[in-house]
Subunit: 369 residues, 2 copies
């Protein structure tokens, strides 16, 4: 593994906010975006945090495919629903406003739902559903994404990795948080196998003819060329029920665009008809459910907690001494990182120093300088 150095959470937070501001993001918005990205690092999901700060956000702002100021139009609003146009601004800023509004509606009316169109990458899906769970509500979200997943019996990357995400309040120190793509593995995981010099498990990726691929280097090259596709959860064909994962991926694709009438599938590639970079036009959906409108939050939390505790206490497989529940590993990771700070790899260290110099943020001093 490459050498990683831990940076203090406040140091990196303030630095990121200041960089975002230098890129034209208003201060309040910069705070939101920074918190979303760092929440990913807090949970140990490094693929969606600081790692993405430059390539997925700053570079795109520079390229003009992501607008630093987010003009939010509320296209439609009822007592329980919202349709929002994010006008190609920061998806995280629009999603933050959306969730705050839906939380208020769900508190009043028991249920609420919203959709955003003309949006951009909204960070980890679980951030939004956790906002609901912190208020004693059930959060549900999903988003479409650049096409990379093939349908069952297909070979073309058609669907996004499309997370279907739920966070439920419990009586434990952390909520039940199921935050996962509906395919088996994602780009970040393949890069991980490449770094470890390991084969990708059979049944996660196929080539143009549908043959299973395991060489991570070749997979990454071919995926960039549209010549390899990820497989949905459940794997290849029908034998181990890959059609179920494909169904969930399609479900998220539909809910992410059909509630607003926004674009989908290949129109989300970020490249226009002439091969030039284009706006992303992503779509997201959000639902919030209030247990107080059923048998009450305490009942909900206690039942959920009891289920999770019984699962953990059940008989373990040979060679394993622990059964986890969704969100537990991320919570445990945060306990470890709270004091240590955020781990920063060599390449990200370089990125941060470059950003500091270019933006003249001379007040910041990193331990690796």
């Amino acid at each position: 593994m490459e050498e990683r150095i831990y940076i203090d959470w406040d140091l990196i937070k303030n630095f990121m906010i200041d960089v975002f501001i230098k890129y034209g993001v208003p201060e309040d918005d910069a705070k939101i975006c920074t918190d979303v990205l760092l929440e990913s690092d807090r949970r140990g999901i490094e693929s969606h945090g600081l790692n993405r700060f430059k390539p997925i956000y700053l570079d795109r702002i520079k390229k003009g495919t992501l607008l630093p100021t987010t003009k939010i139009d509320i296209v439609k609003e009822t007592a329980t629903t919202i349709v929002m146009n994010a006008n190609n601004g920061m998806g995280m800023v629009a999603s933050h406003k959306m969730m705050n509004m839906l939380i208020e509606k769900a508190k009043k009316y028991g249920m609420a739902g919203g959709t955003i169109f003309n949006s951009t990458h909204y960070g980890i899906a679980g951030y939004w559903t956790t906002m609901a769970a912190k208020e004693g509500l059930i959060g549900v979200t999903g988003t479409n994404a650049r096409p990379s997943v093939a349908p069952t019996f297909g070979v073309e990357p058609m669907l996004g990795t499309n997370p279907l995400t739920f966070t439920l309040p419990t009586d434990e120190d952390f909520p039940f948080n199921l935050d996962c793509a509906t395919c088996i593995i994602q780009n970040g995981k393949i890069e991980f196998y490449e770094r470890m010099n390991k084969e990708v498990p059979k049944g996660c990726v196929i080539d143009e003819e549908g043959n299973l691929m395991t060489d991570p280097k070749k997979i990454l090259t071919d995926m960039r060329a549209g010549k390899a596709a990820l497989l949905p959860l459940g794997g290849d064909g029908e034998e181990t029920a890959g059609y179920k994962g494909y169904g969930f991926t399609t479900l998220v694709e539909i809910l992410s665009s059909a509630l607003s009438g926004g674009p989908f599938l290949k129109d989300l590639s970020g490249i226009d008809k002439d091969g030039n970079p284009s706006m992303y036009h992503l779509g997201h959906f959000f639902f919030v459910i209030n247990p107080e409108f059923f048998m009450g939050l305490d009942t909900f939390k206690k039942t959920a907690g009891n289920i999770l505790r019984e699962l953990r206490a059940s008989k373990k497989e040979k060679g394993h001494d622990k059964i986890y529940t969704a969100g537990e590993k991320e919570y445990l990771e945060w306990q470890k990182r709270k004091e240590k700070g955020v781990p920063v790899s060599k390449s990200i260290q370089k990125e941060l120093i470059d950003l500091k110099v270019k933006n003249n943020l001379v007040n910041y001093h990193f331990p690796f300088e």
Copy 2:
């Protein structure tokens, strides 16, 4: 394959209604239950239709673990939510009332949600969500069930096969209908492999130590003894993301009981502490979302239809000339069965004749008598 004879839909429908009535089910309820069971046969899902008429419904009524009359108590109702006690009556009757009420609420308020406790098997989950889709609404449901699925790194059958089901209206002749258990395969599929004298695909079932099992006969015996467990969608361990399927199964387990505070996991085994048959105390949840409260039903249907058509038109894997979307195979099956009738195997033929004789329903004449 064993010899199957097709019976006219009306003949079998009327017969089933009359048998249900003889078992004490009120006529209107008998009609609902018959329609739910036969809808499964219409879709070609034989595991949940006529096959289950006697063992899962009639035999249980006789045994006293399923009450033929369904006393429904509405424990709580708000503008958008309902909590219902089915008092161990017919789960299908309670679910039918629930969906009708939620459909009305979603038409008025945009969103609605409900939960039922003290319920029994509610047939195919997709029946309930299809009720919503027929009215231009999005339907979501799930249910807990007898424990048979092991958590990731566990070996004990703890969770139910827990379907997570969505039906979405489209502009096609049939809706998008994702109606599947959150494990890889179910009992019925294992019985199918046994009849075909084929091995169960590796990675679907484990024994008490976590070893993969493939012999269908041994699996069926060991499952009955609680010595084998089904694996969640995604398979064994974490390598092909079995923890995601396990997460979805757990999600359904929580939503099915926590909204009402009802029982869960091992308390759903249908056997009490002394080893005697007990009530099932199942729980279900239902959500209905109205696209008219977003950008409209027509927009929703057209976008959904376009996504499905583009998926089907995408490049096929070597050896496959068709890509399906969720619910399509079931729709095509219905086109075939519409005229032919419902296929009835030798063992079910015998069951039907027995039921006719025992209940003195001499007006019915089956083609196999």
